[in-house]
């Protein structure tokens, strides 16, 4: 085999992901290649250690770093603001489609005068982006294919055209050093002053658009037909938004890369949606999260000198998203699970208290406490179960246990809670029979559920509505305000007036 040929093999094999099928010679070259690249990497790291790099980052001494960081902040702001509308309009994958489909536009813009002129690239990419969106809507309107197939199709076939063009450009003598491949994974450090200027202009346009068109955009996002019936320029706003999105995608691409730029449109706003409900807060929050993740991603990639920026930004974003998904105060998955669990145990506790009350009531409140054995018999549950329940009450200081561990007593707090639950139950039964005209034998199950959720206000209203009743439909007394709010501990039967 000729030497030039083997060198070529070595290079090709570096580009392959498997060594399923590697000739021994090329395997050797592969090995040599990786060792040398490894050495170069270690060399990089010894030249500038991680702490040094971090120091350089935070002192902002490096002008190119300042520029890159400023670019990332603009990018986060721009994508975060537009992304808010993209996510609530369920157009997340439109951003994805757009970001892949503009690739031929970038290549054409590059071909315009054979260098990385940001304005030419922006114009080329915007035109091709618009074309791709038109193609998607033409395919869905005129054929049987659905939107998802049309988007996937346009995304990947436009991308293929772009790859063809880039492959052709890179064969050119001047094309190889052009840095056009930086568009694929993103390298914030590759941005120069004119890129940043362009970014600032597009971010400023977005800011103006969102501030002054906020009401219209809100209507467009949540009820387009309503906006149209009011005569608002919905079509204009939609197209202006699509234009700004393609500006945002194209300008962000240098820093984040073709594949991942859509993540900057999706992840920060989705996180914001998990944290708040109001649209203006979603927008502000998503812009803040976008800026923070972009800057943090730039920092991480700056630590290791050769790392692409985009993936780190996206990972920083997904970390924030995961945290919000799990722990958001209102929406978080774990928060909701925890809330459900505490709710469940509260209901169980209230049911235990209610059962204690019923037992005491059956004995006309004559006895001091309730033996666990009696309690077990009354609830028809094994003693161990009852012990678990009483332990729970003890922990919550709703009951006390005698020293020999056989008798339960209400604490004042426990007594109040028991009375409140029983009152809620009986009031509701009375409400259903007297006012809703239910049969007395149909009201118990409903009351079992609602007794745990009736609030004080509703109870007051029910009492007024029922004219401050004393007994429920089954003739049992309803504990009054005195029991629920007062300090009274179970008293002998004659004072309850029963």
């Amino acid at each position: 085999m000729k030497p030039s040929r083997t060198a070529e093999i070595g290079r090709t094999q570096r580009f392959r992901k498997t060594n399923l099928c590697v000739l021994p010679i090329s395997a050797l070259f592969l090995l040599l290649g990786t060792i040398s690249s490894h050495a170069a990497r270690i060399g990089d790291l010894t030249e500038t250690s991680i702490t040094d790099q971090a120091f350089r980052f935070f002192t902002f001494s490096d002008p190119s770093l300042r520029l890159a960081l400023f670019g990332c902040i603009l990018l986060g702001l721009n994508c975060g603001l537009l992304g808010g509308f993209v996510v609530v309009r369920r157009m997340s994958l439109v951003g994805d489609t757009l970001s892949h489909a503009v690739l031929p536009g970038i290549a054409l813009g590059f071909l315009w005068n054979m260098n990385k002129d940001p304005v030419a690239i922006l114009i080329g990419a915007t035109l091709v982006g618009g074309l791709s969106m038109l193609t998607v809507s033409a395919i869905t309107r005129t054929s049987r294919l659905k939107e998802d197939a049309a988007m996937g199709l346009v995304l990947s076939s436009f991308y293929a055209v772009g790859i063809c063009l880039i492959g052709m450009i890179q064969r050119l003598p001047s094309g190889n050093k052009s840095g056009i491949d930086k568009f694929l994974f993103g390298q914030a450090a590759a941005m120069n002053g004119s890129d940043i200027t362009l970014m600032a202009i597009t971010a400023g346009l977005t800011l103006l658009f969102v501030t002054f068109g906020y009401r219209g955009l809100l209507t467009l996002s949540f009820h387009r037909a309503f906006g149209e019936s009011l005569g608002l320029p919905m079509g204009f706003l939609h197209h202006a938004m699509m234009l700004l999105i393609s500006f945002a995608v194209v300008t962000a691409m240098q820093a984040v890369g073709v594949v991942l730029v859509s993540a900057m449109l999706i992840i920060p706003p989705a996180t914001a949606c998990l944290l708040t409900d109001r649209m203006h807060r979603v927008l502000i929050l998503s812009a803040v999260i976008g800026i923070a993740t972009a800057a943090f991603g730039a920092f991480l990639s700056f630590l290791g000198s050769n790392l692409p920026t985009g993936p780190f930004m996206v990972l920083a974003g997904s970390f924030v998203f995961t945290m919000a998904f799990l722990f958001s105060p209102q929406q978080g998955w774990l928060t909701r699970l925890w809330r459900q669990r505490t709710q469940k145990s509260r209901i169980e506790r209230e049911n235990t208290l209610k059962a204690m009350y019923h037992l005491a009531e059956r004995r006309d409140f004559r006895e001091e406490g309730i033996t666990l054995l009696d309690f077990a018999e009354a609830r028809r549950e094994p003693l161990e179960q009852i012990r678990l329940q009483s332990d729970d009450l003890l922990r919550q200081k709703l009951a006390t246990l005698t020293d020999d561990g056989s008798m339960l007593h209400f604490t004042p707090e426990g007594w109040r809670k028991a009375c409140a639950v029983v009152r809620n139950h009986r009031l509701w039964e009375l409400y259903l029979t007297n006012i809703m005209q239910y049969g007395t034998d149909h009201v118990h199950d409903d009351a079992e559920k609602i007794e745990h959720v009736l609030g004080e206000d509703t109870v007051r209203q029910l009492e007024r509505r029922l004219n401050f009743p004393q007994t429920d439909p089954h003739g049992k007394p309803i504990p009054g305000a005195r029991e629920v709010h007062g300090q009274s501990i179970p008293r002998p039967a004659e004072t309850t007036g029963y």
Partner: protein, 310 residues
Amino acid sequence: MDGLLPPFDAHRIFIAPWTTDIATYGWMALMAFLVTAACGLVGNYLILRRMALVGDAISHSVLPGLAVAFLISGKLTLPAMLAGALGAGLLTTFLIEFLHTRSRIKADAAIGITFCSLFALGVVLINVFASKVHLDAECVLYGELSNLTLAEFSLGIPEPVLVMGGVVFSVAVLIVVFYKELLITSFDALLAGSQGFAPGKMHLALMAVLSIVIVAAFESVGAILVIAMLILPGATAQLLSTRLPICLALSLLHASLSAIGGLHLSLMLGCPMAAAVVVAGTLLFGFAWMASLLKTRAGFEASMAAEATP
């Protein structure tokens, strides 16, 4: 601008690949056909189930699966590759489902978040462990339908072609064996469930097959072009026919035509062959779209004429 196109040489472009250079280009064309065929067969079902973008998602998220398989097993053997891809594919399916059922995140955002995050993770793993993972990020984007004569041969066939052939064969066998189940779960999941066909399991199985097809195709065409391979054949076929067996056959035809067209196109333009195959496939789709438009118009005019003359 000069030199963007290589000089046109009809012999080099159209004749040499099939005569003097057949040992090189024959295998490349065959490989391109096999990749497109495997993807196209599975893709038909994706389009029917409106899951084209889930294919998009899995094609991205296979990357971290491969990187992790590489890190664990040291080098990429076939079983490690398949395990990594399967794991990644099922994880993606699960995450998408989990995100949009357990929170107010909508399905489209869930897809976007999942695959972007996993893809970013893959790129970071490859970059950070560059010395251990011989996966080149460029290959992910461009694909590398490279010179198969350099690959190891067994039974006189280059090994990647052999593996891809095996994948196509197994996909075809699976489709024949589970034809009825796939058909009913794709068109009416509720009916399928009531008849005892377990649409959930079929969904998972389809995702598993999809991950395997994607990982097999990944090496040759990269993460993004594989989406085109998944959607183009099925979309073209479904424009031309409404019968599923005919669609499957048409997508095989599309695969073979775009493989051959792509070969010549890449020689003519001097661009990467994987992308050229997709461009050829897109042209075929364009023709099919035009044909279906003309047909609809002809049908419309015929019905108008029929109405006009009662």
